[in-house]
Amino acid sequence: MTADGKKSSKTTNKRIGVFVCHCGKNIAEMVDVKKAADVSKDLEGVVFTTHSNYLCSEPGQKELQEAIKTSKLNAIVCACCSPTLHEETFRSAAENVGMNKYEVEIANIREKCSWVHTNREKATEKAIKIIETKVEKALLNEPLTPASVEVNRTCLIIGAGITGIQAALDVADAGFKVTLVEKSPTIGGHMAQLASTFPTLDCSQCILSPKMSAIAHNENINLITNAEVTSVSGFVGNFKVEIKEYPRYVDPDKCTLCDDCVKVCPVVVPAEFEGGLGPRKAIYMPFPQAVPSVYTLDIDNCLGIHPLICSKCRDACGPEAIDYDMVTKIKNMEFGSIIIATGFDLYDISKIQEYEFGTDVDVIDGIQFERLLSSSGPTSGVVLRPSDHKKPETVVFVQCVGSRDPEHHMAYCSKICCTYTGKHALLLKDLAPDTEVYVFYIDIRAAGRGYEEFIQRAQEKGVIYIRGKPSKIFRDGDKTIIWAANTLTGERLEVEADLVVLAPAMIPSFDTKSISLITKCSLDEYGFFKEAHMKLKPVESLVSGLLVAGTALSPKDIPESVAQGSAAAAKAISILSQPKLYHEPLVSTVDEDKCCGCKVCQSLCPYGAITFDDANKTSVVNEILCEGCGTCVSACASQALILKNLTHKQMEKMIHVALKEEAK
């Protein structure tokens, strides 16, 4: 059914082929495919029409390719099933015979027509209408080429807790260079502070320190501690990053870890690593297994790096490793992909005034209790209460402190507290079986392999679980009093405790907001990073090439964080191993002659793809960052923004042709 005598479109030089598929009876039963093909013959630019039984079959595709060649088609409209099924099939079939694949249009006359209507005549009319709109669009489509960019084969990982460590090791093991940036003087994160891990109770340091040491010794890993990322620009494959490395005043190459500097330092402050329950000096190593294995001079607490005030550490240093003249270094580096693994902080539970955290020293948080349990902790693994260093006889644990409280604090469940409180209670019962241990809970949420059994183990050991959230915790002389109601029995309770351990909500780490601003990775309602898709893209962000893993996304336990670290690494590797990166060309572009420079588009773009050219006074779209949603196009008052192959003209033409009968 060729129409060879017909000339191509006068306005666009388009030679369009229309292929109507029967899809067996699926379309042909309700739509007169022959009529649809016949009518299409008269449309502008259409030089070839046919109808075939199964267009997606091998013979169907051959027929399509033959027609493209013999009738010199430069655009086609396939009237068939949904584009989600066979758009790619026909695009590559066309591409294989030299047609640009962005000139292929799908008119969905099956799912949106033959399958949902019951009147054959009207369904045929509608199918023709759908084909007509697509022919109008095809007339104005342009051949496009995906943009390609070179890939910088290095990966930046921000945050060196267990998630960042795992990701760094995986990317490095795949043979790519990694730069691992950590804000604190050592890597390890919160996991380094833990005494043991649930539900197996293996010692946290014992399973973490081999990985930390592997980071230090891996040739592909460049570790920068005491540093932060201060700016990120560019796009996938080519991120430009500024890293600020703060001075530690100790040369790691010269330091021999003799500890002489620590001995002479006159300043004693609470150690962050011990949750403030133990001391450290102004020059210190956070913990013996710290990586890098070197001291750091805490300049905020040091008497002053001026030799006239105090230079005891420098004078004591045999190998002359201490250098007061070190300054902040700014490093500008480039990366192909970035993994954010900035972890979590604990909710500031001193805000919960009824629990007296921060005013009663015998009310502590979970991390502090981990340090009391740790054999390398401030009490060498003996649980003593902070106020008088006596063994507590009654210990009360409170779960959901700040979690699951939408009216006052965080609405979400912090996920790990039930299980780690069970761990605390169990370990305490092991260490001091005579201790009376109470756990106040709202619900027990111990989902995970072996977790429920673990809680049961704690209960079998004699830990008393009470369903109810304490209403008030206050000091009374030597004791801390807990007021609560048992919501299962309805009775009111008053417990006299020697030590109270609160399980605070996990919240996004302090720097999350600033990293979000720097990287343009969006945040959820609680301030955690937001993944591109909760189920199908759990470690990808909406910024291409920017990955997020671990508790930076939401509360998680260690196995999940490790799994996400590896998942993000796999995603990073799949970017870094590409010879070149291609980006879908269906994106926005700016007509400089029309742009008035109002910058409205900039504020609408969620990807930061639109910047302003100050010299030209026009907006500029970065075609690699643009994802092609077209939101900016609809907002541009001067119609300067164009979404490629879905322009205003195309939309208007489609609307016009869809309604042309109404206009008669």
Binding site: E111, V116, T133, L604, G628, C629, G630, T631, S634, L659
Partner: protein, 148 residues
Amino acid sequence: MSKILNPEPKVIAFLCKWCSSNAADLAGVTRMKYPDNVITIETPCSGRVDPNYVFDSLTEGADGVIVAGCHPGDCHYVVGNYKTLKRMLLVKELARQLGIEEERILLEWISSAEAKKYVTVMKDFIEKLKRLPPNPLKPHGLISEVKH
């Protein structure tokens, strides 16, 4: 029930390709039936629907216009649907001031799993339009004489 004033209303539906367009496909796959008065135009995001297109559709003769996007919080492009929400409020207000019934313009959130909702929305909308007079902006309608 009020009288039928326009037995065959014409509708243009702008569907986001990530959600409502897939809902329409799913309605097809499950062989749900709905009236054939709707012509759909797919966009990458409901945010691509310029307010002008709603008025273009009405002046070209559509009796009603549907804009369908992802549920709040589910936009494939993060926030496109929120922009649509704001724009559509404005579009409705403008329509009201121009003397067009607001009911002719419908914004709906239809996820890719909500085939049933898609069908219900289409059916209900067409039933409602049948009970309105033909669009006064139709090229051969009342207002077009003033326009041309």
